[in-house]
Symmetry: C2
Subunit: 416 residues, 2 copies
């Protein structure tokens, strides 16, 4: 089954918006064991018609996003009606939805919005609970008049409207078109602390030997997602192999990221966490507090960039700082233990390092970081890591290593 993706929007061509929809849709389609063949972005307006015709002439399915809004630039609806020779009709259901949508928000509906209630005859309306633009599905028979056998799906551009519509209304229809669609599933095993090449070495050959299994890797925020897709049986067999060879490095099998796993694990155990950050500058605390519910497990965070702050708030001694320097194993340990003591938390993570671009030395080059974990009921550990590169990458990988240190302690796993 061949699928093409067509987006419309000047903001994409001008670079004012990064096209995250395309990547997200690509992943959803990959999860069905398929791959987008082409992805085309065209301007707002009438060129969408030509783009849809080109895509349809080559494809079984064309996914279109954008151009369903109320403005004069939004011509996707009209263009497909012209393309397939379908008259436009007022859809009373959409009209009622629009009226309710505006009434609920105490806004009056403009005449231009009524345009969104016009539907090419025969199209199946896909409800949009999150916006005014409904999606439209054109089954393949509507394209037979053009000599094609192509299904069109028209989706709204805003991600919060497009994503639920894709998941609940488009994907079931795509599955139904695949011979083994109902049985087809996807499993993401999120691996941390192991490089892609090591993962490849450990499991790739064994996974590739499984008939009917499609394997993919996705590097994301310092982790590697191993994606297994296919029918239930080969996916299950593949998962067993990944668990056998990478088990302790698997953070989740449901796409949760490490901070989500940690917050939930701490909640379940009724334990709390504090942080003391130098080089990561609050980034780790921010990751933890991105998780809803984190306030029940995270109470105190310190960003002790200055030595004076390490002394005053964490009780790191001036002698220790003078003797070993702020970026050192003893200072990392003292920061973690100081944060644990002052916050009364069950666990405290501390980081001190050289984020760069300046401040490195031969002994401790830019990218060096010491990470320490202190816990009420276990001895403090400290480890040295090295993440050269940009400041962003340094903050990401350092905080990732720190969170992984805690995950391993909570699960009783040895430090990798």
């Amino acid at each position: 089954m061949r699928i093409e993706l067509v987006n419309t929007g000047d903001e994409l061509l001008l670079g004012d918006t990064i096209n995250t929809n395309a990547a997200w849709l690509g992943q959803q389609i990959a999860a069905l064991g398929l791959m987008v063949s082409r992805h085309l972005v065209v301007s707002d307006g009438a060129v969408i018609k030509e783009a849809m015709a080109e895509a349809a002439s080559r494809s079984d399915v064309v996914l279109v996003s954008g151009g369903l809004g109320p403005t004069s630039d939004d011509l996707t609806r009209e263009s497909i009606a012209e393309l397939l020779g379908l008259p436009m009709e007022l859809n009373e259901g959409i009209k009622s939805h629009l009226e309710a949508f505006f009434a609920k928000r105490n806004r009056s509906m403009s005449a231009s919005n009524l345009k969104q209630a016009m539907v090419p005859r025969g199209a199946i309306v896909m409800d949009n609970p999150f916006g005014t633009a409904p999606g439209l599905y054109f089954p393949a028979e509507l394209s037979h008049s053009r000599g094609w056998d192509t299904h069109f799906f028209l989706l709204p551009g805003p991600p919060r409207e497009l994503k639920p519509m894709m998941e609940t209304l488009v994907e079931p229809r795509l599955r139904a078109m695949l011979p083994d669609g109902a049985d087809r599933r996807v499993l993401y095993l999120k691996i941390t602390g192991v490089g892609e090449s090591d993962i490849v070495e450990k499991v790739e050959k064994k996974l590739e030997a499984i008939s009917g299994l499609t394997l993919g890797y996705c590097i994301r925020n310092g982790d590697v997602d191993v994606r297994l897709s296919g029918a239930a049986e080969p996916v299950d067999i593949g998962a067993v192999i990944v668990r056998e060879h990478l088990g302790t490095c698997i953070v989740s099998e449901d796409r949760r990221i490490i901070e989500e796993v940690l917050v939930q694990t701490l909640l379940e155990r009724g334990e709390t966490l504090s942080t003391a950050e130098s080089c990561t500058g609050g980034y780790m605390a921010s990751r933890i507090t991105d998780v809803s519910g984190s306030s029940r497990v995270f109470g105190h965070g310190f960003v002790t960039y200055a030595n004076e702050a390490k002394q005053k708030h964490l009780g790191v001694s001036a002698e220790l700082l003078a003797e070993h320097g702020a970026v050192s194993e003893p200072v990392a340990k003292a920061m973690a233990e100081g944060a644990l003591a002052t916050s009364g938390a069950d666990h405290a993570l501390a980081l001190t390092g050289v984020a760069g671009p300046t401040g490195g030395s031969d002994e401790k080059p830019v990218g060096t970081v010491f990470i320490s974990l202190a816990s009420k009921n276990a001895s403090t550990i400290v480890k040295r890591y090295y993440y050269p590169g940009t400041r962003d990458r340094f903050k990401l990988l350092s905080s990732q290593a720190a969170l992984e240190m805690l995950r391993r302690r909570l699960l009783g796993l040895p430090l990798a």
Copy 2:
């Protein structure tokens, strides 16, 4: 002048990589007063040939990225040679560059890398200081044999290689093709604290009346970039109008973001900043410490998620918390003043609010935030804001409003 963009890479179609190159290239081209007409992504391999042919048949310039690597999937070089009927030749300059590149890294050069030294006859090599894949420029006359008059630029896919090559080697050539290219410039005025619709209302008509000026808006991380492009004179006239009507809201005219402006301003004044964050959970500190050099102006940050932390580290009284609640004007003020006192900094910013999705009330719904700024030599200010929506957006806009509060104080501007 019509420009199309063609990317190759399965990782883009599978959604494993978000296509940030496309947006960046779109912006660079918009800055020349042009707009990408179409952007097409195709798979690795031979389909790139057909994609380039389609684009060339419609365009004056085709920018291609990806497929210049050493693997068997990297077929962009070979494809364009076939397309334009050019024989492949070994380029001794590239070969030497490759040998030096690997020698410097103590790595041996594989035979497959030598493929990168093969160049279609007549193509102009564009050096790549950051990788092994040189760029290639095919002036329009090389496409005359196909009946086209199209310039091709082939760029490597990795952003750190593509960006400098685009800026230093492609853009000057594009400018030279434009009648007024040498004189063409772009100015970004970064506006904060004002919505796009207000900006439109204040300046759009006046700017649109300037002959030869192209106007664009780009919403980015809570700010709006007003983009003026054209010849020097209309851009200058436009800038005067924006400064006149939005002057105090202009954060920078050189694309610097507010945290960069603040760190530099504090450095110049020899002043320091502390932060006390509840609802933003360290995100504001992380933004500040993303700026290289921030360690000289930022020493102490507190993430006081728990009431106990607000009391212990910032000296907020239990009575105040009990009487007004943690999310309140008096507590925000006490947090800022406490952070100022304990850190000894010249300024302290504090935030307390309801990030959601839970925890809101009728009086203080999700999205409510109180922001306070205390300074050694000025009275403390507190202001209430409301940023409903996702947690990410709440953290972004809240920290943005706080940083803007400090910017206005440092510049002696009234609070907006």
